[in-house]
Structure formats: C-alpha cells, structure tokens
C-alpha cells in the first residue's frame, strides 16, 4: 500500500501535498502550456490570414492551421490543464494520496501519444477536416485514432480523480462535505465522462469508416452525437473554470461562499442540464423538430443558464463580503477598488469572470435561441462567442490559477513579476477584441472557417460590406495583442518553473489553511453574519439589463429578415 507515501505541507496554505499528485500536476500543467504555445501560434496565423491586408497563408495551409489551432487549444491544452486541476482539487485540497498514480501516468502517456499522433496527421496535410471532422470529409485514420487515444487517457485521469475522492472519504482526510471547489471539479469530471462516452460513440465508427470497415455514416447523426462530445467538452471547462474562480477568491482573499447550498445547487444544475446544449449546433439542420430544438437548446427551461447566472452573482458577492469584513466598507465599490489588482491570479480571475459573463454568456444564450440562430449559424459570430467563453473565460482562468500553482506546487518564485502583473490585462484586452470584432463581422454575414471572403476566383462573387473587412482587420490586431499576452504568460510560467528561484520550506510547524490572520477572520464567520453586498447587486443589475436589452435587440434583427415558415 502506498498509504505511507511522502508528502510535504505547504507553508503558505497548510495544504498537504503528496509527491505523486504533485508530479502529475506538474507534468500535466507543463505539457498543457506547450500545447497552448503550439495552438496559439496557429491561431495567430489564422487571424492574420483572415486580415485582408495581410492574408498570410495560402488556402491549404490556412485550413491546416485552423484545424491545428482548434484541436490543440479547444482539446489538448484545456484537457491537459484540467487533469492538473482535477488532481489538485482531489489530492491536494482533500489532503489525500492520489489513487493509482501509475494508472494516472498511463493516462497521461496515452493523452500525450494521442495528441502527438493527431498533430502529426494534421501537419501531414491530409487531415484538414477542422476540429469537428464532419463526415464525409475524411481525415487520415491516424487523426481519429489520436483523438480516441487522447480521450481514453483523459477518461483514465477522470477515474483516478473519482478514486481519490473515495480514498479521501475512507481514510477520513477531511470532515463533513468536500470543499466547494472539489464539488465543482467533481461536476466537471462527471460531465467529462458523458463527453468522452459521446466522443467514443461517434469517433470509433468514424475511425472504422476511415479505414473502410464501415461504409456510410449519416451526416445528421454524426453532427448530433459529435456535438454531445464537442459542446459538452466545453461544458467541462465551464465547471472547471468556475471552480477556479471560487478557488482563487478563497486563496487570495479568504472568501467564503455566501451560501454553500446555492453555489452547490448551481453546480448541480450543470450536471443535470448542461449537456443538452449540443442542440445549439443543430438549430438550422433538417430533420429535427422544433419541439426537440426548443427543449434542448434552452437546457430544459434555461436551468443551466440559471446555474451560471447564480455563479455570476455568488463569486463577486463572496469577494465583496470578504472585503467588507476586512473593513473596506465605504460606498458601493471600495471593496472592489481595494482588491489586489496587481496580483495576476486575482486580476486574471476577475477579468475572466466579467468577459465570460458579459461577452460569452449573453451571446451564447442569444445565439442559442431557436429562431435567432437563423441569423447567426456558422457566421464568424460563433467563434466570436466561444473565444469569449473558452479563451477569455477558461484559458484566462487557467492562466490565473497557474500564478498560484507555481509557488504552491512547483515551489518556485514567480519570475518577471512586473510582466506577470500586466499579463492578464494584455491578454484579456486582446481576447475581448477578438470576440467583439468577430461577433461584429458575424452580424454582417462573414462566414467562419473561410479562407477569403473577397472570393477572388469565384464565378459569382459577392461583395461583403467594407465594415466586414475592417472588423476582420481589427480582429487580426486583437489576435496579435492576445498573442503578446499569451507569450508573456508562457515566458513567466516557463521561466518560473525551469529557472525560477526555489522556495525553501522552513521547518516551521504546519499551519492551517488561510493562516493569514485577515483571511482567517473572514473564513470563520457563519453565513448569518455575511454583510450586505450592495456593490454586487449593482453589478448584477447592470449585467441583467445588458442581457435583456441584447436579447430583445436580436429578436428585432430577426424580425427584419425575409419571412420563413
């Protein structure tokens, strides 16, 4: 038995860190960052090609780069990092040894091999089928095989997480219920199992089709099941990055949930309803009834949206409550002004929260309306939306938590602290630009996944309005800015991890979590003692007003197009 495994106690947080979990967190996080770099470079090439004045790549390279960008960032970077998050949320937060570390390493190896195989297939040039690989577009068989291996590896990692929860319970390494962050990570892991199962159901037959063992795959069936994988994988991210919002506000500010019941209830809604969102992709497909579309696209009756709207209040709300407890009680927003804006973990988390809610959340609900989707489907509005959710939301939250993992797990001091301080702002501004300008171009009809909207060699050309080219140019500039922000992150992360100054553990007695006196005061108060949160209420009112206005403005846009029935 590995119960006597070595652990150390983190000096700052008092958390018990087991060697096996620590090594796996390190490996997964480092590999994730490598793929972030690869995928990011392809992303910049894509954006520069769609910037008319530059039009960087030829058509075949453009579609290759777009496929590589999607696979490496939407899947590889995010899932590797999520494995690190799962091991952290189970082993480290519960102070428990990791279940079957060897299996976890096997999963890690499968993911790495799978990612490498798929990347090679894409770079060979005969697998430019996009992240979605819609049949009957055919990729090299190794493309599908790589994705399948990667998914199996991720599934193993997910079960190591579940196993660790069981061990922690058995060995009583914690009392009562698991922490909220672990609860959120569990939600992410449950969604991951559903996601990977859906991926297997569709990609295994597709692999067999690519090698000739299956003769035909129905396109509508493919899209229906593939999106249960493709969209749900982004729902893992939502659960994971919201857990990280809670994690960062707890570690940096000592924030405590306003109400465990409400926050956990909101996470539970994700388990029950988030997966229905694969319908968002099928709203203008033939052969699917409106009843099916309305029920699924709205997550029953917007119950998963309800979950997100709740987190959108409880995260800033718990920050406000913690700050007010510390004495920042003047006016509506002193608590917000006095937040540690120079700490990249905090600023990254807060920018992620704002951009995810205002840009990603609102646009996602609006484009998911059955009828409004008619004026948005497959335009570049769609990538505009998901860059706000997956890049501004998930990626920025992952970057922010890395600034905590470097001292805690890698035991290194942050290198280039000045650059680290600026990084979330630069990256956040760049991504906000990408999202806004792509959404703007999308409302002008610009298609996604399109090499050249000036259609130089088309027989029946169509001229897009000049504003569309302007938007795509601004998108290119924003992508460069986000690229700078991404490079700053990689420089800080890689620099600190490999060349940073080692933090030496002193022989002091282990301290309890949140040994910081101020944080402890905040953490101990009961729910009844939460101060009022007027500032958050103002923020929520602003959010809700924008949401309602934008929602009805889009109905107005829809009402102006040709009648259809």
């Amino acid at each position: 038995m590995a119960t006597n495994e070595q652990y150390r106690t983190c000096q700052t947080t008092g958390l018990r860190v087991y060697q096996s979990a620590e090594n796996l967190i390190k490996a997964n996080a480092v590999v994730a960052v490598v793929f972030l770099l690869v995928g990011g470079l392809f992303g910049i090439m894509v954006a520069l090609t769609r910037w008319k004045a530059i039009h960087l790549l030829p058509a075949d390279w453009f579609y290759l780069a777009l496929t590589a960008h999607g696979i490496n960032l939407l899947v590889v970077w995010i899932i590797f990092f999520e494995m690190a998050v799962l091991y952290f949320a189970s082993s480290v937060l519960l102070g428990c040894r990791l279940a079957t570390p060897k299996m976890a390493w096997a999963g890690f190896a499968l993911m790495l091999i799978g990612a490498a195989i798929t990347n090679v297939a894409v770079l060979m040039g005969n697998s430019s089928v996009m992240f979605t690989s819609y049949v009957p577009l055919k990729a090299d068989p190794s493309f599908y095989a790589g994705v399948i291996l990667f998914a199996v590896g991720a599934l193993i990692g997910t079960f190591v997480f579940f196993g660790t929860l069981v061990i922690a319970k058995q060995e009583k390494t914690y009392e009562g219920s698991v922490p909220l962050v672990t609860f959120g990570a569990t939600v992410a892991a449950i969604i991951a199992v559903f996601t990977i199962a859906s991926g297997a159901i569709i990609l295994i037959p597709t692999f067999l089709w690519s090698i000739g063992y299956v003769s035909h795959i129905d396109t509508l069936m493919y899209r229906t099941i593939w999106w249960a994988f493709g969209h749900s994988s982004q729902q893992i991210n939502v659960a994971a990055h919201i857990s990280i919002w809670y994690l960062i506000s707890a570690v940096v500010l000592g924030a405590k949930p306003l109400s465990e019941k409400v926050s956990r209830g909101a996470f539970l809604l994700y388990v029950l309803f988030l997966q229905l969102a694969s319908a968002h992709h099928l709203l203008v497909d033939p052969g699917i009834s409106s009843e099916w579309k309305i029920f699924n696209t709205s997550y029953a009756i917007y119950l998963a949206v309800l979950g997100s709207m709740v987190h959108g209040m409880t995260v800033p709300g718990q920050i406000e409550a913690a700050q007010r407890k510390k004495g920042y009680t003047n006016g509506l927003f002193e608590w917000l002004r006095k937040c540690p804006w120079g700490n990249p973990a905090f600023s990254g988390m807060f920018i992620s929260l704002i951009l995810f809610g205002f840009l990603g959340g609102i646009s996602g609900v609006v484009m998911g309306v059955e009828q409004i989707n008619l004026i948005i489907h497959n335009t570049i509005y769609v990538p505009g939306h998901f860059h706000a959710t997956v890049v501004a939301g998930t990626t920025l939250a992952f970057m922010a938590v890395t600034y905590l993992l470097i001292p805690l797990i890698f035991q290194k001091e942050i290198m280039f602290p000045g650059m680290a301080k600026l990084q979330p702002y630069v990256f956040g501004l760049g991504v906000a630009g990408i999202s806004v300008f792509m959404m703007g171009a999308g409302t002008l009809g610009v298609p996604r996944r399109h090499w050249d909207i000036s259609q130089a060699d088309a027989v029946l050309p169509y001229d897009f309005p000049g504003a569309a080219n302007l938007m795509m140019g601004l998108n290119g500039m924003s992508a460069l800015l986000a690229g700078v922000g991404g490079a700053m992150f990689i420089a800080v992360a890689v620099g600190s991890i490999f060349f940073g100054k080692k933090i030496v553990d002193s022989a002091e007695a282990p301290t309890a979590v949140a040994a910081d006196e101020n944080a402890a005061v905040v953490a101990k108060h009961g729910d009844e003692e939460h101060p009022a949160i007027p500032g958050t209420i103002v923020l929520v009112v602003v959010f809700f007003t924008s949401f309602v206005l934008y929602y009805f403005v889009n109905w107005k846009y829809l009402a102006e197009v040709w009648p259809l029935r």
Binding site: S290, M309, V369, Q371, L374, L460, D527
Partner: protein
C-alpha cells in the same frame, strides 16, 4: 472557504441570504420568459424554420432540380442557368463542390417552397446580405417557404467548410419587383 469543507456540517439547513434568493427567482423567471418567447414566436413571429425534411438521394434531387431548370429557365449567366419559376412554385437549389446551382430569380412579396440539399458534403447556405443561414446535408432535403421582401441581387455564400475550394462556392438569387406586370 471554498477550498475547505463547509464550516457548518449541516450546511444545507443554512438560511440563504435574501439577495441571492431574489436573484435566483429573477433568473428563473427570466429563463421561463426566454423559453416561452421561442414558442410565442412560432405562433406570432414570421421567421420560423420549417420542420419539413425528407430523406433523398443525390440522383433524385438532381433530377427534380434539372426538371425545374428545364421548365423555367429564362437566361444564362456565367454558365449558370437563371430560373424564374411562377410564384408559389417549388424551387430547388443544389449544393455541391463548389457551386450553388442554379441561379434563382424570385418575385418580391411572393412565397416559394424552397428545397435545399447537398449532393456530396455538408454545406452552409448563407443568404447575404439578408443573413439567413441554414445547414445543408447530403441525403436530406430541407423544404421551407420563403417570402422575399426586398429586391436586388443576393449572394449565397457557403459557410460550412467543404474543402479547398470552399471560398469559391457562391451562388446567387435575384429578387425582382413584378407589381408593374
């Protein structure tokens, strides 16, 4: 804290702060409004995608489209037949690598049953600058009734990636004013 087990072991009995409770109710009601808005639009709105669709083969769809072209072709442009079917008629448009075929000429204010299908891969029907977007599958025939309300020349862009010639896949629809006739 969110990183430690709840301080109160029986956390599910804790009182929910009023501000949170109100927000949960507001958000839930807003969800209901958005849900019923889609149903309302089916009853009173003018832009609803029909649920009519059929399984069809590429050969059958080509046959139907060619029959229409033969019957109603009025001229040719850049090698494409231009078809002007009478109002209320069934009109067909083929999506294939890398064409929308043929060119349609419709009359303003009249309704047409538009049939769309792909002969090979998936394509995206994107009518510009109106910005109506539909997913076009092979083996499925989508039928919708459309009423053009503006005249002019409209582009049909392909907005589902369909290989290296994707960006050259464009079609055209003309809408003419026929009230004077």
């Amino acid at each position: 804290m969110s990183v430690t087990p709840p301080t109160n072991r029986i956390w599910w009995n804790e009182r929910v702060p009023k501000s949170e409770l109100i927000w949960v109710i507001v958000a839930f009601v807003w969800g209901l409004i958005m849900f019923f808005m889609m149903i309302y639009w089916h009853a009173y709105g003018e832009q609803n995608l029909s649920n009519e669709a059929y399984k069809i083969t590429a050969e059958q769809f080509t046959e139907k489209t060619e029959a229409m072209v033969e019957k109603y072709q009025v001229r040719e442009e850049s090698g494409y037949p231009v078809v002007h079917p009478p109002p209320g008629e069934d009109v067909y448009m083929i999506a294939r690598l890398w064409q929308w075929w043929p060119i349609l000429e419709l009359e303003k204010g009249q309704s047409y049953r538009l049939h769309l299908s792909s002969l090979d891969w998936m394509h995206g029907f994107s009518l510009q600058p109106i910005n109506i977007n539909l997913q076009i599958h092979p083996d499925y025939e989508m039928v919708l009734t459309v009423t053009p309300t503006t005249t002019g020349e409209f582009g049909v862009v392909c907005n589902e990636y369909c290989g290296i010639g994707h960006h050259t896949m464009l079609g055209r629809i003309y809408v003419v004013d026929n009230e004077g006739k």
